[in-house]
Symmetry: C2
Subunit: 221 residues, 2 copies
């Protein structure tokens, strides 16, 4: 008990998880997987990675125990190993945000200026229940299918301009997306207000709601 070698072995176990979190691309993969299971090729495209590079990163996440795989015919679906992994990822981001000044800068550069009105989930749910607003999921359709806020309407951002008619003009639209660092809802609200609609975005997104244990409705496959 209490000897060096054993202590080192124990901390090496913890570090294996840390190492897996130590690459931007792997974190991006986790971010995507937090929205639902995906295949390797799909992830490679979404994360702008070569296929073998993506596979290698996924192997690394798998070895660390952060993701799980399921084979479906010729395809392999990767998913997060559990809600606690999503929580760890969210935790990591918030520590970066709080203790690394550059993070805020990078966030702004990616999401654009803070020119959009926002609401937190609690209020969003209250308004939605009262029927005052339309809750809009602007993520790609498969992510909506994998799980979304109950009652939310799905119009992926890249189809939004063409499908504006589907949104009632007399109600405010509340857009949400993957999470606090996802650009989709920001862009959606800009697009909507540019078209004269009343719109705001949810402060958080599916990642944070999942971690908070909010009900997320999966669509029947």
């Amino acid at each position: 008990m209490g000897d060096r070698a054993a202590k080192d072995a124990l901390f090496a176990e913890f570090a294996a998880v840390g190492k897996a979190l130590g690459s931007p691309k792997r974190l991006e993969l986790l971010d995507l997987l937090a929205q639902g299971p995906r295949s390797v090729e799909d992830l490679a495209n979404a994360a702008d990675l070569g296929l073998s590079t993506c596979s290698a990163h996924l192997q690394r996440l798998l070895a660390a125990g952060l993701v799980a795989t399921r084979r479906d015919g010729t395809r392999i679906w990767y998913s997060l190993a559990g809600e606690d992994v999503a929580a760890l990822f969210a935790n990591l981001r918030s520590v970066a945000q709080r203790h690394r000044p550059h993070t805020e800068q990078a966030r702004r550069a990616y999401l654009g200026p803070d020119d959009t009105k926002q609401v937190d989930v609690a209020e969003l749910l209250r308004w939605a229940e009262a029927g005052d607003v339309v809750v809009l999921d602007v993520r790609p359709a498969p992510e909506y299918a994998a799980g979304h806020l109950p009652g939310a309407v799905s119009i992926p951002l890249d189809e939004l301009e063409d499908r504006l008619i589907e949104l009632p003009e007399d109600r405010e639209v509340i857009a949400y997306c993957r999470g606090a660092y996802c650009a989709l809802a920001h862009d959606a609200v800009r697009l909507l207000t540019a078209h004269g609609r009343q719109a705001r975005r949810a402060t958080d997104g599916v990642l944070e709601w999942r971690v908070a244990g909010l009900p997320v409705q999966a669509q029947a496959a």
Copy 2:
């Protein structure tokens, strides 16, 4: 907005924190710092590191924003950058525990067999308030001084055998230490029961209590 370069920069920020968590030795330093501020040389000894190696790791943690420094004369005191860092660390450990089978193995190898009775904090506090038990802090004295459970008595593990007289024989002793992966309380309870005392250990330790927001009493300097 939404372009690759900006997204990569944002995730690089997150990954900087992840990278800092990707070394066993750095995690060990965080573990120590979670008990209170310490100097470089002190940390090097405690973590079994060369002085320059230790300094390099601390620089890395500092660059990642996970620790802070304070100069006191010729000495530099490192400390955690915030409670959220402790929470992140605890989170990392619990993910490793839950998703990496080897972790449990390594834990047992380090802490020894599960031959000691345990109590959770809630019950510990109830018993302590009723005066049924002695709450014993077996960490090194400086860590006790930096913060401990209100009402706890300090006898560092390596002095315990010589100071048994200080503990009342008619009351059960509840020993606690740094956290769920710290060997001190395990060893203390084994030592106490070997001397015929009634003893058990707290399931968690100061790290977890801090994260949970429990009152931790700092000794006036």
